[in-house]
Symmetry: C2
Subunit: 101 residues, 2 copies
DNA sequence: CATCTATTTGGTATTTTTGCCAAATAGAGA
DNA sequence: TCTCTATTTGGCAAAAATACCAAATAGATG
């Protein structure tokens, strides 16, 4: 049973919509890392980090590969850097409350 | 007090990480719409739609403008179409469970 | 095979998000 | 000013997401 297009997109976006997960994705923009590296980076419980990674992989945002004792995660979403650059140009609530312009 | 960069990015991404909100954003890719149009589109309570719009505007993803009786919302994030196209190319959980490759 | 290490899974308490109703507001027009 | 319409806000119950602990798993290695 195929999920509707919107839901698949939402799942991928949700996979990036959390501080720890976005930090992971940003880090992986610089190349693959093993889970232990990512847990050190995020600073949360290992199980928490693992669940974040599973969620991101299920959404298609990451792929992983075992090598020796470690499992290495990699970013599957090549468009992330440009998207983040674009987001940084937005002006969040730049005009106070109410409807601006 | 400036929010850290990661949090601003997360806020913008969260603003898109909900079926109704993504539907709104996708619709606005085709040009501005008034709140009433968007509520008809989404099919939820007017107050619910309004809160989604506020959240998206606070995150910088939308801007709005009053004209006559209506308020028109517009997409501020020009990179959305390309980002969505990119997401559609991901292969969510294409390889069953466990670590693939 | 026994064990060790890295990672995942199950379970649950806590926090956050969501959605509706009712009430408030803001501006347009009589 | 009074009223009407479109939209927002406040409040709260229900649903979803998050984080930790403990236990399980999967390979690697002795």
């Amino acid at each position: 049973m195929q999920r509707p297009a919107v839901d698949r997109r939402v799942a991928a976006i949700k996979a990036l919509a959390h501080p720890s997960r976005l930090l992971i994705a940003e880090t992986l923009m610089g190349g693959e890392r093993c889970v232990c590296d990512l847990q050190a980076l995020v600073g949360a419980d290992m199980s928490t980090v693992s669940k974040h990674l599973s969620l991101m992989r299920a959404a298609g945002v990451l792929t992983c590969e075992r090598r020796g004792l470690n499992i290495y995660y990699r970013l599957a979403c090549s468009c992330l850097p440009e998207f983040l650059r674009c987001l940084d140009e937005l002006a969040p609530e730049a005009c106070g409350e109410g409807c601006c312009d």
